[in-house]
């Protein structure tokens, strides 16, 4: 094989041994450093010697061919392979693909000795990406090396794991890596933490159970290990800062020690102790202290010290200072620190070094929202930076100005931004800047002309890269109008006029989006401009339609505009021409428009009603339930047509045809009655509302949908004050220092742009004067103390583009809707009570039954009256229900030894003696499996207790509200917040009009888990009226296990279902000696996790359970040599992870 290589080499005679032209004096290097004799060396040399790209390509192709032959030859030694790999890496770096070598890189990592393995691993990490299929072949090698006794091998394996590792293979190495956390060598511990950090990033669910070990790593005696764990903590705290507040003290202590120089000098970088570590800690503290005065209190001292210690004039100290400043301005403010931080920013901004200046601007931009005075202090620097040759400085300055824009300086600032925009080439910069200009224009426009012109500039400069929100918002603004009718009119007239003027220029190319905006506005508002003949506008549109640069999408907009205009003119020649031309267009869409227009023109009256003037904002009532088709559908069904099945149901049925397992209780509604209301019920998303429920809801669903429709899909981006998500609370403004000189400076400025300081002003050059003038226009209206009165006035005058608030309207609507709901409920309830016997086990009716059983929710007297008559009937129904529940319960837990908490009478007595207000479950719930009644929160007047009831269909949260006072409490309102994880069925609030003294009321909420998680909190609050409005906040912790129920099935069903499921997770866990047999393990799982044991065959067992309402999860267990191999499958990807975690927990506990 080497003869191929020889040939390659002989093809490059004379190049070997030649001196590299770029080699310079240091080129020779140390002895043996540049191994000139190696193949790589000669390759590199020959490539450097080449002059053209073409030659290089030829040479590399030759090289690759020879490499390909070498690596695939069986006789190639690993040593040679290693050499080849290095050359392959080199070729890849030059941009030539060498995928034939990837598999050999993996082989080298597997088979080579230390040195070769190292190159193999390096090649793998450089060649492959995270999702590369070949990566799976690496897993075994990694597992083997992790178990190696050679430290270097373990190190290499850990390094490669923390660089790339396939997500689905994590379980294979996780236990090994966990073990390494206890390794005696700190380098191994550190690398293990790094690997876990990687796992946390790609699959957070899988490392949930090792959070305790992270804490151990944080307390590691080696600073390197501790530093590595901070990466994980930063990430976790970013996601959920409230969960780690207890660690604040530790972080503060660590930072104190680092800043105080307690670490070994090894960690110094340019005599600054562990700067990377410091910055990491500062960031963590910032996240923890945000909006939390108590936690912030703990860190003031150490932040002060950090600021003080960072005094050496070196980049690294400035980097630390910058983080310090950011942290100080992020956490709950303390005036003393803010003052110091502000001084610090001055150091940056005034520095002659351009890098520091940039960072200073960045810091200013960050803090400016909280303290606009700082901008005033540095205004001259800011002005200078505005014309800085370095674009990044310019852009950061504009960002800063953007944050201090107000009604008075908007014109100057937007002008500056537009100037920059015109120079800018980069698409990304244009998009972000255009968005900002549009936002400012909308928020602070001083007058109509300016607004329209600015928006015109935005559309024409921004071109088609602008975010589609911008034209949409602009059109909405025009259409919805503001509080003032006259203003609206003027704005629209001006818009139409300016577009007509723009279209006057015949051959100008406008971006598509701009043309679309123009045509919409012209179509909608052309008639407002009385002095222009519609025919003229039509001609212009017509000429646009003929242009080739106009896309067909834009042409559709233009056609729509033309149609609107045509509806207001009696026969027009241009319209006829348009119809004629486009009727034969190749674009089907345009052709259709043309035909529509043609037909509409024939019936002007219809056209007028179809296209009313200025009706873009009136709400269309859409009957989303399509109830008008009900009659038709009912008729079809009566004639024997098959009922409609939604797509997913049809698919499921297809799947389950062989399995005969249907988890979705569809089709039941048709069983009770094929009525029109039953048909609309298909809208119900849960599939759990049956018969009677539907008859109560059908009309209402339609109604509700028409109300909410217009809000859906339309993000409420803009509010009264402008861009909504950007609005951040400005806490602690009153605490901030108010430098006195600044205030007075400002007072002078707000007037007629006077010179800054009169005595200096005399000596100022022309240019400086200009700058100062600019400053006074830019920074006008900033600051708080002196500017307040002026600003207040200005604000009311300039906040022109206030959107008419639609919120109150919708509130009213939703109130109406809920009224309607209530009345509907009360109307139907008696009816419901008489029939629920037909709808056994229907959850909805059961709840109503229970709810009505407690007097708390029957609001009105009528309700009570209505219920008096069917009392006895209902009672019997309730009894039925109870027995039914008993039945279901026993079926649920038949042959399951699940621990069910049955409160003994003695326990009840005991707790009763503590407080007279111990709530107990209503009788009908007492029978169901439930948790202990635990206290949630207390205030002087109220105590809340909670009990979880695990029914077959759902988790019921029973909340007891006890009045501890001697007077009645009024208007008690219990509200649960919906989170991403949980959904509360029916309403999330409960209202008790009155709770008598010393009495207990309760309500129940039915909760579903929407997004799988092992544990999450459901926040809630209770408000009540005693002497004043009081609100108590509390939260309920719900675990995945609250929503898991056993699922009964036969072994056969299991097998079929198993094959149809795709998401699987496998894990081996160690079994403790006391439960070494399979049956013992299965018992544990069955008891603790409520899994249903389907079958046991030999050393294998299968279990099944479901996540409510009906997501199955199957588990296959096998024992071998003291290990329990768990294999989960489920249609939901996150469920197996969650269950695995629970399994590990219970197996460890037992």
């Amino acid at each position: 094989m080497s003869d191929v290589v020889e040939r390659t080499l002989s093809a490059l005679p004379g190049l070997l041994g030649q001196h590299d032209p770029g080699a310079g004096p240091g080129g020779a290097g140390g002895p043996g450093r540049v191994s000139a004799s190696s193949r790589l060396g000669s390759l590199i040399r020959s490539i450097t010697a080449l002059t053209s790209k073409h030659e290089e390509e030829k040479l590399i192709q030759q090289e690759l061919t020879s490499l390909k032959a070498t690596v695939s030859a069986p006789s190639t030694t690993l040593r040679l392979m290693k050499e080849c790999m290095v050359r392959l890496i080199y070729c890849e770096m030059l941009g030539y693909e060498s995928s034939f070598g990837y598999i050999h890189a993996i082989k080298l990592a597997q088979q080579g000795n230390l040195l070769e393995k190292r190159v193999g691993y390096l090649a793998v990490s450089l060649f492959l990406h995270e999702n590369h299929e070949l990566l799976l072949l690496l897993v075994n090698t990694v597992v083997k090396d992790l178990q190696s006794t050679n430290l270097v091998e373990v190190c290499m394996a850990l390094t490669v794991v923390s660089q790339i590792f396939p997500r689905e293979m994590i379980p294979a190495v996780l236990p090994l890596i966990e073990d390494k956390l206890q390794h005696s060598k700190e380098i191994i511990r550190r690398k293990a933490v790094q690997a876990l950090y990687k796992f946390y990033l790609i699959a957070p669910n899988q490392v949930q159970h090792i959070h305790d070990k992270f804490r151990k790593a944080l307390c590691d005696r080696d600073a390197g290990v501790m530093a590595a764990s901070l990466h994980i903590y930063l990430q976790m705290i970013k996601e959920n800062s409230s969960g780690y507040k207890d660690l604040t003290g530790s972080f503060v202590t660590i930072l104190k020690q680092v800043v105080g120089g307690k670490l070994s000098a090894d960690f110094n970088y340019h005599s600054v102790p562990a700067p990377w570590l410091q910055i990491q800690l500062l960031r963590i503290l910032g996240l923890l202290g945000k909006d939390d005065p108590r936690t912030s209190e703990l860190m003031y001292d150490v932040l002060d010290e950090s600021l003080r210690r960072a005094e050496i004039n070196h980049n690294i100290t400035y980097a630390i200072l910058f983080e310090c400043v950011q942290t100080i301005y992020t956490i709950h403010p303390k005036s003393e620190l803010l003052e110091k931080a502000a001084k610090c920013i001055g150091k940056f901004v005034l520095s002659p070094k351009i890098n520091l200046k940039y960072l200073g601007l960045k810091a200013l931009t960050y803090v400016i929202q909280q303290d606009p005075n700082l901008a005033l202090q540095h205004q001259m620097t800011i002005i200078e930076c505005l014309d800085h040759p370095d674009p990044i400085i310019k852009r950061e300055t504009l960002e800063l100005l953007y944050r201090i824009t107000n009604g008075q300086n908007v014109i100057v600032i937007v002008q500056k931004m537009l100037d920059y925009l015109k120079e800018s080439q980069e698409e990304y910069a244009i998009i972000s800047l255009v968005g900002k200009i549009a936002e400012l224009a909308e928020k602070y426009a001083p007058n109509n002309e300016w607004f329209i012109q600015t928006m015109n500039a935005v559309f024409s400069v921004g071109g088609d890269v602008v975010h589609s929100d911008i034209p949409n918002n602009f059109l909405r603004l025009l259409a919805e109008g503001f509080d003032d009718e006259k203003e609206d009119h003027q704005l629209r007239v001006y818009a139409v006029q300016s577009y007509l003027a723009l279209l006057e220029e015949e051959d100008k190319l406008y971006p598509q989006k701009f043309l679309q905006v123009m045509s919409w506005v012209l179509g909608e508002y052309f008639s407002l401009v009385t002095d222009v003949d519609p025919e003229v506008i039509l001609t212009k549109l017509h000429s646009l339609l003929k242009k080739s640069f106009v896309t067909s999408e834009t042409k559709a907009w233009i056609m729509a505009a033309a149609t609107k205009i045509a509806s207001h003119t009696s026969c027009s020649k241009t319209v006829d021409e348009i119809i004629q031309e486009l009727s034969s267009s190749l674009d089907t869409c345009l052709r259709q428009y043309a035909f529509e227009l043609k037909h509409l023109c024939e019936d002007k009256a219809l056209m007028k009603t179809l296209l009313p003037f200025d009706a873009s904002c009136s709400d269309l009532v859409v009957d989303a339930s399509l109830s008008f088709l009900d009659g038709f559908v009912a008729e079809g069904l009566a004639h024997g047509a098959a009922p409609y099945k939604p797509h997913h149901q049809r698919q499921e049925e297809k799947l389950s045809q062989e399995k005969a397992l249907n988890f979705e209780p569809y089709g039941l509604s048709f069983a009770s009655s094929v009525s029109s209301s039953g048909v609309t019920g298909r809208q119900s998303p849960t599939g759990l509302s049956f018969g009677s429920d539907i008859s109560g809801n059908s009309a209402e669903t339609g109604h509700k949908e028409t109300n909410t429709l217009k809000l859906e899909g339309v993000r409420k981006l803009w509010g009264k004050e402008g861009y909504l998500p950007k609005k951040e609370n400005k806490t602690g403004k009153e605490n901030e220092p108010q430098p006195v000189p600044c205030g007075s400076l400002l007072a002078g400025q707000v007037g007629e742009a006077p010179a800054l300081q009169p005595e200096q002003g005399a000596s100022l050059s022309e240019e400086d004067k200009e700058k100062q003038q600019l400053a006074s226009t830019l920074f006008i209206g900033l600051g708080s103390s002196a500017g307040v009165s002026l600003m207040g006035k200005a604000d009311t005058a300039t906040q022109k583009f206030k959107r008419k608030s639609k919120i109150t309207e919708t509130q009213q609507l939703s109130e109406e809707a809920s009224d309607f709901q209530n009345s509907a409920a009360s109307n139907f309830d008696p009816l419901l009570d008489t029939i629920p016997v037909n709808v056994e086990d229907s959850e909805g009716s059961m709840h109503t039954g229970l709810r009505k059983g407690s007097p708390s929710s029957s609001d009105t007297v009528e309700d009570n009256l209505a219920f008096e008559t069917p009392q006895s009937l209902r009672k019997s129904v309730l009894d039925d229900r109870i027995s039914a529940n008993r039945l279901s319960q026993s079926s649920l837990f038949a042959d399951n030894n699940i621990e069910i908490f049955q409160p003994s009478s003695s326990a009840q007595c005991e707790s009763a003696s503590e407080t007279p207000l111990v709530p107990s479950l209503p009788e009908e719930l007492e029978e169901l499996p439930h948790s202990k009644v635990v206290g949630l929160c207390q205030s002087d007047a109220l105590a809340l207790h909670l009990c979880k009831v695990w029914t077959d269909e759902s988790l019921l949260l029973i909340v007891f509200v006890s009045n501890k006072t001697t007077a009645a409490l009024h208007a008690v309102n219990l509200v649960f917040e919906e989170t991403e994880h949980f959904q509360i069925l029916e309403s999330a609030t409960s209202h008790f009009p009155v709770i008598e003294a010393q009495s207990v009321e309760h309500c129940q909420k039915c909760v579903r888990m929407n997004k799988v998680c092992t544990q999450a909190v459901l926040p809630a609050s209770v408000g009540y009226q005693s002497e004043m409005e009081t609100c108590l906040e509390f939260s309920v912790t719900l675990s995945l296990m609250d929503f898991i129920r056993p699922m009964e099935m036969t072994t056969e069903d299991f097998g079929k279902l198993w094959l149809s499921l795709s998401n699987d997770v496998k894990q081996n866990i160690k079994m403790s000696p006391c439960q070494d047999s399979l049956s013992a393990a299965l018992d544990t799982l069955q008891q603790k996790l409520k899994l249903h044991r389907v079958d046991v065959i030999g050393n294998e067992g299968i279990l099944a359970c479901q996540l409510l309402p009906c997501v199955p999860c199957l588990l296959h267990c096998r024992t071998h040599s003291g290990m329990l191999a768990l294999w989960f499958r489920s249609p939901c990807a996150a469920l197996p992870d969650g269950l695995l975690y629970q399994c590990q927990k219970v197996m460890e506990e037992s």
Binding site: G30, M93, I187, R190, P275, K362
Partner: protein, 154 residues
Amino acid sequence: MIHFILLFSRQGKLRLQKWYTTLPDKEKKKIIREIIQIILSRNQKTSSFVDWKDLKLVYKRYASLYFCCAIEDQDNELLTLEVVHRYVELLDRYFGNVCELDIIFNFEKAYFILDEFIIGGEVQETSKKTAVKAIEDSDMLQETVEEYMNKPAF
């Protein structure tokens, strides 16, 4: 987090690339070309930072070699400059007065050192002692390399 690190010469030749985010190869090539062009065309008096898409490029020139990192907006630019400097220090320590040629001919060693220092786009080691230890490890390997190189290979 650092998204990628590029080392390239004043002539625009790529010397080392390390990616911490997954991108298709085509995209990578395009980015490399674009960035080398942007940075080489900057004049000496400008800052060391460039806006690039939604990322920031932080670069520094050491003799004939440019070191360039792409970082996110919330990252600290100055700190990244020091990351580069620290890396150069480590290289210097390993090669002894490092020059571009050392990196050209021993780029795999440069990768090893980088992997000890930055993992997943985050700086991992701030202790010189441990860094030195890692370098010693590779020195141990280096010896064997030399032994190997000194032997006639074929």
